[in-house]
Amino acid sequence: MHTELTDNIKRRTRTNGRFRYLVIAGSVITVIPIFLIVGNLAVKGYRQINLAFFTQPAPDTFQAMMAASAGEIIPGGIANGLTGSLLMVLLASLFAIPLGLMTGIYIYENSTKKYAQFIRSLTEILQGVPSIILGIIAYLWIVKNITRGYSALAGSVSLTIMMLPLIIRSTEETMRMIPISIREAAFALGTPYYKMIYKILIPVSFSGLATGVLLALSRILGETAPLMLTALGSPAISFDVTRPVSAVPLLIWDFYNDPNMVSLVWSASLFLMVFVLSMNLMARSVASKHKYI
């Protein structure tokens, strides 16, 4: 009887220990890819990264082929992609940040109303829409009807639609963490509603709002699919919103499709990844520094 019990306990402790190792092993396997990806890109990509990489537009195939066959570094860089990305992301932020903040505040302020709940559900659906479909939409709306051709404007519209639900959700969630007492104190002092929003809600939740915006930006910076259907890409540096422009992810796609440019893809991917990830980290550090709300 006694041995039976100790056997039972032994067996159970053994499976318990084994399961713990299984959990650890599974977690290790999960994080391995991040090291592989970062390491791989860093090793193969750093060679091309120099000043020219940021100041010169993408080379043409012929230049790249000549350099590659001579064993040299491919001339040129990603300047046209940088300016294009900058243009479209700025434009998208211009639309999406104010609209997103206001809609988020609206949903929070009216959260008991059926209409606001409906808008919140729509936002959730919008957030789940695959980005390529937003590319189709911006193509149908802007490329076909407004700019009559591929354009930076179309690209930024698709990015705007991607950003909006992200900002709305983060705004609403941040606002919900503000203690009700702060609002009530403001109202008790006779503060008008709009002043309560501008002087209390927004300043108090500022770091949360900033985190939401930064995370949304880091999401759209790496977005490629919708831009393929809207901004198309361009070999030259351009700031005309009615014309096609390039973007860093679009350049990666172009380089990828050109066997002569392979070493540039590593560098461009490395740059994009580092940029997006540091933005991501920045967002999280802003969030953790301001634990007040």
Binding site: N16, T30, P33, L122, L126, I136, Y193, I197
Partner: protein, 283 residues
């Protein structure tokens, strides 16, 4: 008082844009898909034909629906053990420790890597590996795409599952411990049963992500407009066929691609709705 009114009006108007955007998206997708559905009827959904030759044009969405469903489900199957163990690591075994914090940040980083970088990495790092195993000649195909997709969706499934596992009341677990249960027994007889629907929902939401993923899949699936014949055979997903062919499409072909987009929209919306519904019930 007028400041109040203006503010309220501004907030309301901006909420209207979401309403306009959503209806606009649905109307545009339906409108764009009409020519294809008029030509092929509902058979468009079930046909696996894809022939853009002028005069002989025939389009159907089935190859791509199959490609999307197969790659996403396979990705989910690969993702489940990874996400499950990692979420237990974060929310149960090493809860609140430094290690768990670091692991969490690493997984957040995994979620931050752009899709096109995953695709490129898969193409140059993962594909040759698969070729060397001899399972596949070119290394393109459903399995390669699913593997990368799985890595991409693990962060979503993990962080949601971890959040839900950490919400299981400590009293329940302590009660089981006090009866002499081991940790593994507590996990399987208390934690998982009480977090079950939330964990399932997190996997459904991860599936919703996988369905719409475009670039990485486009670069790895091999782009063949047929129903994939096996795990290592090439195929195409709904998103990848749009990415590949939309640029040069016009007329009926464009409408067919928009129709594929509409179907993708409906499928992802349905899957996401299901996931959210289960989460709401759980909460």
């Amino acid at each position: 008082m007028s400041g109040d009114r203006i503010t309220k009006a501004l907030l309301f108007i901006s909420s209207l844009t979401i309403l306009l955007l959503s209806t606009g998206i649905v109307i545009s997708l339906f409108g764009g898909a009409i020519p294809a559905f008029r030509e092929f009827g509902l058979g468009f959904i079930f046909s696996s034909a894809w022939n853009p030759t002028a005069g002989n044009e025939e389009y159907g969405a089935m190859s791509f629906i199959a490609g999307t469903v197969i790659t996403s489900l396979l990705a989910l199957i690969i993702c489940i053990p990874m996400a499950f163990t990692t979420s237990l690591f974060i929310a149960e075994y090493y809860r609140g420790t430094r290690t768990s914090g670091i692991l969490r940040s690493l997984i957040d980083l995994l979620a931050g890597i752009p899709s096109i970088v995953y695709g490129f990495w898969g193409f140059y790092a993962l594909r040759p590996l698969l070729v060397s195993t001899g399972l596949s000649d070119q290394g393109f195909g459903v399995f390669t795409a699913s593997l990368v997709l799985a890595i991409m969706i693990v962060p979503y499934a993990t962080s949601l599952s971890a959040e839900i596992i950490s919400m299981v009341p400590a009293e329940l677990k302590e009660a089981a411990y006090s009866l002499g249960a081991t940790r593994r027994e507590v996990i399987f007889s208390v934690v998982i049963p009480s977090a079950r629907s939330g964990i399932i929902a997190s996997f459904i939401l991860a599936l919703g992500r996988a369905l719409g993923e475009t670039m990485a899949v486009t670069m790895l699936i091999g782009n063949a407009n047929v129903i994939p014949k096996g795990l290592f055979a090439p195929g195409n997903t709904m998103a990848s066929v749009i990415a590949n062919q939309f640029g040069e499409a016009s007329g009926l072909k464009m409408s067919a691609l928009i129709a594929v987009g509409l179907l993708l929209f409906l499928i992802t919306a349905l899957v996401n709705y299901l996931g959210k519904l289960i989460i709401k019930r759980f909460a």
